[in-house]
Structures are given as structure tokens and as C-alpha cells.
Symmetry: D2
Subunit: 386 residues, 4 copies
């Protein structure tokens, strides 16, 4: 029998949604996933129109996710969607995710996983209970050179890691654009939709995940200075955090959305006993590898000398730059390959299984709660609690 | 009635083909094109297997392009493919393209358009005769910052253009890898499959097209030094060319596949009376704009200050790097949008129509014939003949 | 009467001293200063030999600084040195500086100014009492693009400053090289010679001075995490510090000498309401200027569009890179020009007067004492005390 | 007996002269050379005033170089200048140089060595005849990373060299500024002062020297396209040249002074069988070293892993950028060390002897004559004649 594509439904992502479009591109790129149904908006009319413009069959462009899960559950095995992609704002992650799992659908969800740590733990428990798979799109861990960095640290190339510096400056919230009709700004600065943190929840979580992913270490203490720089905001739009890791290494995490003139300048530097590495998201195919007594090396995507993890997540030869959408697509592809292996009764490779999951989602929510608590504390060090 | 996706068939691009996979990704990304059928290999068995692994319906995975054109012609309007994508080596472009046009299918074709200038002219005539559309994938003109560069020159920001320097060094043919089973190397160094030029046909044409596309000028004279650097080759693997343009500007074009250690380092610098610009394919979202009496400006993809052409060819906000595959996809998307406009009876915008066509294909083949002729001449300047 | 060169004596800087050689080059470059005498080592024999190899007249190559100050005082006006340059390790700054002032000599001194804050205050008081001039070589504020940055902030180009991030990673103390005969490492890791801090005293002070110099702000609170990373050291070799400034801006200061693979990567980013700037010491002739809604601009040394302060501190046209030694020389030149103005009875320009002085030296020592105190505190924020 | 400084006289370089000031800085930096006398202008009054402002003793600030050579010849051995530095425009090199040699003085001279090839040959003959030393300031060969590049090629790290691409774009002559009182522009565009070539003589010679110096190869054929881009000029202000080298390698040399927006962007790329290198004058402490099958390495000034030639020409540790003035000073220092060795009866090391000499000067003048001849020829290839 012919292989089947993996079939995806989508919750959210209708007209004017930024991240929904990104998810669809990521799902499309490799031709392995079929976007077969959706509940694209909480407004049923918008949902329908969006479905049409996205070529969804009319019958499978649903008015609500509840309707979608029920209707899809009733479809035959070879038609029914395999997983749902949830691309709504943070406050609308938990309920559809739980319901999807209850209906037997795998789940892919944008970060942060939920609105609260409590929700995240419930979701993780549900995932374990059902045996279904949850994938979290921490995009930046999908880049091949990030995977190369992680592997080199893991193999001990740099000796013991001593210091991790991650910074994520953006400038797009430098003005109070949430008051000028910018929808992306509006929900991200609204506690009801974003949760207890603005900047740290939106991008600080990415920075923390990247730091732990590459270094293989866990944050154990933090000392946070969270700031509301633009007057009138309810949530932090900027923050600086000192870190301690479980092997004794120290670190800094900076995240800001008022760094005027910056685009999306996520950068990480990791230093070990024997050398260090440096990676810039805006120049993602380059990994600078520094040594104590030898010239810096510039590792580049697409070369034979890279690890299997880097190679597995690359589509083109060196010098043909892949970017953000391909990094995103790597997460989709690995997730879908893992699902396909499940369907085919084969064992997914370690490279396929390398995508963020529910446990990472819990850790991300814990980061948010800890960093906010530390920000309020007058004590220097705050113990990271899960 | 619901909008339809544009349906694509493919000739070539089966197992182990590099550029076929790139074409499919480019077609997939935006979810606007359906890959519905193919004749994926000249070997019918490989064609079938490839079709299966790419999720083609068995009935539409054809054993030959002739079979495909005939069978698809017989299908109903709302099922039949709209266009064929031809991704075979150069020698196998002309015949399927002509046949596709004769059967009423639009054509997308990899560059260089044909094996000879004569074929190119016949193909252009056939396009004009049929009124169908032919799109040529000069990938690099699909980058948003290349389009920005072209617009800025067009608007006269730099005054009269005085000098154009384009270089395209690659290192992947530094060793005689065509003798070691490298299939990509094998056909590109074989005159029967590539035509009268190796390096200049493969990448020199890209460089020449980019120079003319950005500057808005036409090459009128050239002085070529074509070299066979690796012993035993039949075709040039390196070359340096002096240029004159139709407004009196001078230029240099360098293309090499023996530039050891280089990846795909296509770079262009254009100088006018008032300033200049610089673009590097390996850092594609950055356009350096230089002025006589003011600081250099760094234009970046995704900003509001860019031209409509740059914006139209971008999917993500600034700082979320798009790359080679998106540039490729821009050509597919513009072509498909133009076809969709035709189907819907609307007029395509100038931004949609901005993709290379049959006339560009003829010019590319003329470049190859002229540069080879100049390379053999002992005269300094050779007039560019169409 | 012919103009005279400004005459310099030197304390320290004999054989094998790194920074002494740098000071001499800085004094030599512009041909305005004559190196006329010295007490080049605390070892009289080494002092003599060093003097000889540096072309000092035998009679003015002294065995001790006490001897030098006394002998020089007795020389005629047109022969006697004008100022003394003190280039010994930190612990040996205070005494010769006080003695020089007491003998009527101006003083130039390497940073940090003294061993303790108390000494620094005494020295500042003596400077005020004598009316003589003390210059402190915070090298990095001598770079033309640092001066340009300061002027742009001062002119309000970026609006109110919101955030200042400065980092100064070096890797040269990654190994315990003080145990392997590295003299530079030996004194810098020795509290008796360096004072209460290692890394923060040696390079953290540079970073703090740069942050305040460019932003025009003053640090008011800090939260320090100082680390001894290499086992067996008595002083910090690494640290991360959160900052608050007097206008409410926040900041981060990182300094490390165990950042394996780094050279001397002092970097600063400043963000205001309307834009920001970025400067890297290792690429010193470039100043990146970022805007909310316009392309980044790259300001470069040597251009007409720069401020008078940047131009005054540059010797060559744009594109002829000046570096660390010229930045150092700018401090010498401005100091010497100020002295020359004094001798000639003219008024020094603001550009000449732009060099670090005793008050900056006190502030640097206060930074060291505050950052060490904060590092020991369990409170998050520590008030900066002078 | 105490060591003496090497004593320098100067011809030209009075008020408003650009390159004279550079030469004096280069001579001053290392404190090894004493600027003791000069004939600083052809106008005796300007000569006197300039001498005064540069602290020359009144008696040794001469009204003409003839006067200087005669007067200095009459001074005692331990006072008389050792060498003369000639920093006048091209047309005024030959006569003072010959006269200096005839009076027994060593000569340092700015490039190009003379106005014509014929003069250059006479000067070379005179150097050989007198046994004196002539040093030519091809500045760019004084950079440590250029020396590193040369050594790596020499040691065969890249195998046989196949291709050399050198470009030298400047923008400062984009406008006809010679008509607006720009003195630098005025003499460089005047055949009577510059010779038969403008751009190629001024900067093309640097590019050619750099290409031969690093590659160790000699140009054997060239094909030149020389252009007068700005209307009304008598000499080339732009040019593109194809090259052949004596081992069969090919190359390109581009030099332009109408590349609007460029500063002094001399860049070279060399490709061999096993890898290649890339160096940019505006980022001089970085040497990119590329390999067929391994990550690019970034060699940086100041490291232990460098060759003795690179180390010998560096004053500071890695990360403390040295620049144009230090490269210039390296030539002075090596020349002066060679002279000092002569005075002391010791043998100069190969590192000291590594500065351009009269033979290089003849080759540079031959380059100018050949490139101009080729530019006028309708034949493609022109044999390089000495």
C-alpha cells in the first residue's frame, strides 16, 4: 500500500495571523504533511473565509475546534487528521490541546505551551496518560547549526562548560504600538492573553530553551531584573537575568522588545575550558567555534564535516542559505516523521525524535513563573522550581 | 466557486536529483501549488518508485513525459495539470518544453533554458505563438533584496551606473569528482549533457542575469578568459570576463567552480555616480547601500521602508531570515499567481509578473555562446550577438 | 621662540613590560612628546639596561622614581620633564603619583588609578590642591567612533537612553597561566599587586567607564555575580553585573577573562527611544547606528559627516584603519596638547580636554569597591557609593 | 657605546601634505628613528614654517633637498642623517633619490618609485652601484596578516596556486574634485605629476604588488581595460585587468577611484588546489583561510600560531587592533633595523629584510607601462615586459 502523507488540522491562524502562516509554510515545505482541515478562527465567519482562501475543502473548514475534533473523529482512518496544530495566542492553547488529546489526536503547539505552569503540568500528564505525542515549536532549536553546537558540547569538544550568555533583543515594541491597532502587540502586552509575563514569556523562553538545549545544562538559580520600559504597559517588555546552571556554570540572559533598531537578534555564546562557540540567529548558517590556541573555525550548514543531527535538518548544499522557515519546518518534519514511524511500525531515529516536547513545555512555563518571581524578589538568588 | 490550487506536473527530479527536490520545495512552500503528476525519471521504474515516495497518485506517475502530456491532456479541466516543471539536465529541456507547449501546458524550466541558442530561439517563438507562459528559474533574481537593488537603480538613486562587478566563486569542482561517482559533477562536465560551456553555462549565466537584472543594463561587449583548470576536463571550470554595457558602463564577471573553499559565493557590486550597492547571496537579507557623502546604509528584508517588489517577495518580519528556497519559491509563486490571474480573468500585478521568461532564456543562451566565442578569440573585445 | 616638545619621564615599563611599550608608542606616534627620562624598573640594573636600549641619555636613566623626581626638579625649565607616565602594576601607582605632583610634575597613569578607593580620593585631592593635571589611560574612550557615539547620544539622536549592554570577554586567563611563569597573569591574579578584584579591576573598569562615557549616564545601583572560575585563584576572573543608571535606564555589564577563545572583545550596545548604537573594539572604525523605521547606518572613521570630536582623534582618511595604539595615542595627544596650551598660555579646546582625569579615576576605583561589595551581598540591589 | 637612533631626513611632506604626515608617524612609532632634518617643501618659506611646527632644529630645516644633502654630508658621523625619506609626488622622486644616493644616503621612497620605467631602472642601477639601500613603501605588504598569507602560500599549504583575484575600489575621485581645490586629486590626475597612469599608477600598483607578494608568482600576461569615467580627465580613473601568472594561474585585478561609496577597500583572494585565503585591508587583522573539506579558519594578528614574519611585524596582543599606520611603520622599522644592523656590523634577519626595494620599484613601474600599453591594444593578451 502507498505511503500516506501525515494529515494536519489547524486551530487558529486565520486572516491576519502571523504565526499561523508560518506554521503552514513549515508544514508545507517538505511535501510530507497535508493540511486537511481547520478551525481557523474563533469567529466562525472568519474561519470559513480563511479556509476557503487556504484551499480547505468546505466540509472540513470548521466553525470551532470542538466541532473539528468531533467531526474528524468520525471520519475513516485514511481520511481523518493525524494531528492538530494549535497556533492561537497563549491563553487559547490549553483547552484545545487537552480536547485534541482526549479525542486521540497528536498535538503540535506554539510556545509557550500554556498560560500557566499549572496548565502545562496537566497537559504533560495528559500526554503521558494518552501516549500521544506533543511537539512544541521552539523554532530556534530547529536550526542545523544549533544542533551542531549541541552535539559539539555533548561530545566534550569544549571541556566543562563554564559560562553561557544568551541575548534576545528585539525593537518592535519600542513604541506603544498596541494602542495603534497592532494586533500582534495587543495580545502580547495583555495579561489575559499572554499570562504573567510579556517579553520573558514571548522571547525569554526561547532564549532559556536555547541556552539549555545547546549547553545540555539546567538553570538552577536566577536573579531577574524585569522592566516595563514603555509607560502604561501591564507586562514586562524588557529584562536582564543572571543565571546559575547545574554544573556550576554561570550565565546571563537578556531579552528585550524595546531594543530600538534590533530585528530578531537572538545570539548565544557558550564558553568551556577548551574553547567556545557563538551563534547568531540572523546569520543562522554560521557557527563560530573558538579555541584557546588555534584559529577560530567557522562551521557552516551543508558540509560533510557536520554531525548527523545538523545534516538531517538541512535540505540544500552549503552556500544555499536556509533560514527561519526551514528551522520551523525541521520541527514539523521531525515530528511528522516520528508520527509516520508510529504508523508504519518502525522506530524513529534519534534525529527524528529531536524536537521539543511536553516536558520542555513544562520547563518553559516554569522559567516564566520563576523569572517573574525572581523579578519581584529583593533577594539576589532565586531557586528555580519546577 | 472555490479557488483552485495551480496544478503542477514534473519532468525529471526523481531519486538523487538535487535540483528536483529544490523545485518541489519551492512549489510546496506557499500551499498554492499542487504537485499532481510527474514523469520523474527517464527510467520508468525509477519514475514509478520516485512518484510513490513523493505521494503521487499511482495513475499520474508516468513512465515518460510524452505519456504524461498525452494522458493529462485527456483529463477534465479541473483535474488536469496547469503547468509542467522541467528539472532535467540542460540537454533534456528543449524537447519536453516544446511538447508541453504544443499540448497547451505552461512551462517552468531550470536554467540555462536549452542546450543551444538555436533551441532557445525556437522555444521563445513557440511561446509567442501559443500565448502560453514560460518561466525560467534564475533563482537569485527571486531574492527580495535583489529586487530592492533593482528598484533603487531604476529609481535613479545612484545616478548613472558606471561599473558592475559580479563574481560567482564555488569550490565544489576543485577535484575531478566527476570521476569519483559524483553525478552532479558528471553531467555538468559533459558537453553532451551541458552544452558548449561548463562553469559559464552553469553559474556564469546566473551572474550575467543578475548583473543585467539589477543594473537594468545590457551587456554589449565582452572579453573572456575561460579556463580548464582541472586536468582532463572538456569544458571550462573557471573564467574571468571583462564587460561593456549599453550605457557605457564597464564591468567584470568572474565565475569559477575551482575556487577551493568557497561555497556558493555569488556577489555583486554596482557603482553609480552618487553611490553604490553590494549584495552577497550567502547573506541574502542584507543589501549594503553606499553613498558619496553619508554613512553606508544596511537595507534588510522585511522592513516597511522597502519597495513593493521586495515586500511582495517576503513572508516573514525582519530578522527572520529567508533564504535560497524562499527565493526559489518566489519565482514559483509569482509564476503561479500569474497563471491564477489568467484563470480568474484578473490582471497580474507588476510584482507577480516579475519572473524570468523565455526572452531571458534566449539572452542566457546568447551569453553562453558569446562568452565561449570570446574566450576563443585573440581580439580583446567581442560584440555580444543575440 | 620655537615651540617645544612636551617632555615625558616614565616610571616602570622596563624590559618585558607589556603596557610600558604601549605607552611609549602612544607617546611617540605624533612626534609631539619627547621621552626624555625614566626610572624604568624597581631593579636599578634593569632600569639602566632598559634605558639604554630605549635610547635614554645615561644621565637621565634613573635608578628610582624618587631619584628621578629630585634630579629632574633641579634641571632647567627647558630641559626638565613636563610630566611623568606611570605604567607600573596597580599597587605602585599611588606613591609615585603623589610624589610627582608634590614635585610639580603633571601625571599620566594607567588605570585603575590606584590600589584602593581611599588612595584614589587622596590623589584627586592632591591634584585639586596642586592645580596640576592627571590623565588616566582608559584607552577605549580614545577611539574616534566611541567619541562619535558619545556625541550622538549627547545630541539626543536616540532620545532618552533606556538600556546599556556592555561586555568584555577575554580568554587569556582560561588556564592557570600565572603558575606557568606568565608575568602578566601573575600580578593580575595577586591581591597584593592588583587590589581587591581581578577581572573587574582589570577590564570591568574599562567596561564601566565606556558605558558611562558613551551614555552620559551614571551607574546608581548594581547587582554583581563575581566568580572565581579557575581553581586556586584569590580574585575574580569572571563576572556578570546588572545595572541601574541615574535616568532609570537598566543595563548589563559582563567581564570575563576565562571566555576561552576570545581575544579582547569589548562591545557595547546602547538603546534609546528612537534608535540605538553598537560598537566593537575589535572592529573599532565602525559604529552601527540603528533606527526604528529606517535602515541601519554604518558610521566609519575618517568621514566628513562625523563630529569634531571624532575627527580630532583621527589621523588618516576613511578606509585606512586606525587601532588600539592610535586610541591610546589620542589620550596622550589630548593630554599633551592641554599641557602645551598651558605652556603657551592658550585655552585648550573641548576636544583637547576630552581625556579621563582624576575624577574618572576615583569613579573607577569606586566601581571596583561597589562591585566587589555587591558580589558579596545577598541583596539584589546595591547602591553605588562614591 | 650607547646605541644610536637611525636618523631620518625628509624631502617633501610640508603643510597640507597627506602622505608626509603618515611617513612621520610611521617613523616615530617605534622610537627607533629620529627625524632630524628636512627639506619639507619646494617653497623655502613653507619649508621653514613646516620645519618649525614639526620641531626641527632651525639649522637643519633646509630650503631645498640639494642644500640638505650638501649640508648633511658635511656634518659629523654621529649627527648626519642616515637616510632620506622622499614623500613628494611621483614626478619629484627620481632626482632627489639619485642625489641622495650620490651623497651616500640610504633612501626610502613612496610608491610608485619614479615617473617612468626608464627612471626606475636608472635608480635601481645606482642602488646596485652604491651598495646603499632603497626601501619602497608598498604599505599593504607591511600588514602582519599579509605576511602570514605569503608564508602559508610559500609553505605549500594550499598546493599549487590556481587563481588570484585582487580588487582595489576607492570612491574619492567619483566627482571631478581636482577642479574644486582638492590638492590630492589635482596632482594625481595630472600626467605631468603622476605619469602615464592615474588609478593604475596610484593604487593598481599596490594591488599588483600585493598579488605577487602573497602568491609568490609573477604576472606574465595582461589584458587591460582602462577607463576615464569622469569627463575631462587625462588619465585613467578606473580599470579592470585579466592576468596570467608564471605558473599558469589566472587572475583579475580591478582598481577604481570612481567606485562611489568605497573607502580603501583593497581585497585579495587566492585559490590553490587544496584551499584558499582572503584578506581585506579594511579588516586587516583577520585572514580567512578556506579548505576543501574542513571549516574555514580565521587567523588573527597577535597569536602564537602565526609565522615568525607575522609576529615580527606586530606590537600588541591579539584583539588589540593594529592598522594602516602600523603596517607603514613595519616597513620603516624593518628598513631601519636593516640599517642599524649595517651600522652595528650584524646580519639582518630575513624578517628585517622583508621590505620592498628598488627591484620591486622597477617591477611596479613596469606594471604601469605594461597595463597602459595593454589598455591601448586591441589584442587580448599583452606580454608583460620588464
Amino acid at each position: 500500500m502507498a505511503q500516506q502523507k501525515i494529515r494536519m488540522g489547524m486551530v487558529g491562524g486565520g486572516k491576519n495571523a502571523f504565526i499561523g502562516a508560518v506554521h503552514r509554510i513549515a508544514a508545507n515545505i517538505d511535501g510530507q504533511i497535508e493540511f486537511c482541515c481547520g478551525a481557523l478562527s474563533s469567529n466562525p465567519e472568519t474561519a470559513k473565509t480563511s479556509g476557503e482562501s487556504l484551499f480547505l475543502p468546505e466540509a472540513r473548514s470548521y466553525g470551532s475546534y470542538k466541532e473539528m475534533f468531533e467531526a474528524e473523529s468520525a471520519l475513516p482512518d485514511d481520511v481523518r487528521m493525524h494531528f492538530v496544530s494549535i497556533v492561537t495566542p497563549n491563553f487559547a492553547h490549553f483547552e484545545p490541546a487537552m480536547m485534541a488529546l482526549d479525542h486521540g489526536f497528536h498535538v503540535l503547539i506554539d510556545k509557550p505551551m500554556t498560560l500557566t505552569l499549572e496548565e502545562a503540568k496537566k497537559l504533560e500528564a495528559k500526554v503521558q496518560e494518552t501516549g500521544l505525542i506533543l511537539c512544541l515549536t521552539h523554532t530556534y532549536s530547529g536550526y542545523p547549526m544549533v544542533k551542531q553546537a549541541r552535539q559539539m558540547v555533548k561530545e566534550g569538544k569544549f571541556g566543562k562548560i563554564r559560562k553561557v550568555c544568551v541575548e534576545y533583543p528585539q525593537g518592535w515594541l519600542s513604541l506603544p504600538s498596541e494602542k495603534d491597532g497592532n494586533q500582534q502587540a495587543a495580545w502580547r502586552t495583555d495579561p489575559a492573553k499572554s499570562g504573567i509575563s510579556g517579553c520573558m514569556g514571548d522571547i525569554g523562553t526561547h532564549a532559556a530553551q536555547l541556552a539549555e538545549y545547546i549547553s545540555g545544562l539546567k538553570i538552577t538559580k536566577l536573579c531577574a531584573d524585569l522592566n516595563i520600559v514603555v509607560d502604561g504597559r501591564a507586562l514586562d517588555d524588557d529584562g536582564n537575568v543572571l543565571l546559575k546552571f547545574d554544573n556550576g556554570a554561570n550565565g546571563i540572559l537578556m531579552a528585550s522588545q524595546i531594543a530600538a533598531g534590533e530585528e530578531n537578534a537572538l545570539t548565544i555564546k557558550v564558553y568551556g575550558e577548551k574553547g567556545g562557540l557563538e551563534w547568531h540567529q540572523e546569520e543562522p548558517n554560521t557557527l563560530r567555534v573558538k579555541w584557546l590556541d588555534a584559529p577560530m573555525q567557522v562551521y557552516r550548514t551543508g558540509h560533510d564535516y557536520l554531525s548527523s543531527f545538523a545534516k538531517h535538518n538541512t535540505r540544500t548544499p552549503s552556500g544555499h542559505p536556509e533560514g527561519y522557515l526551514e528551522a520551523f519546518a525541521n520541527i514539523y518534519r521531525n515530528f511528522a516523521s516520528t508520527l509516520a514511524a508510529g504508523l508504519n511500525g518502525t522506530t524513529p531515529t534519534p534525529e527524528m525524535l529531536d524536537f521539543p516536547n511536553a516536558t520542555d513545555g513544562v520547563r518553559g512555563m516554569a522559567f516564566i513563573e520563576n523569572v517573574v518571581a525572581s523579578g519581584k524578589s529583593t533577594e539576589k538568588w532565586y531557586d528555580f522550581k519546577l
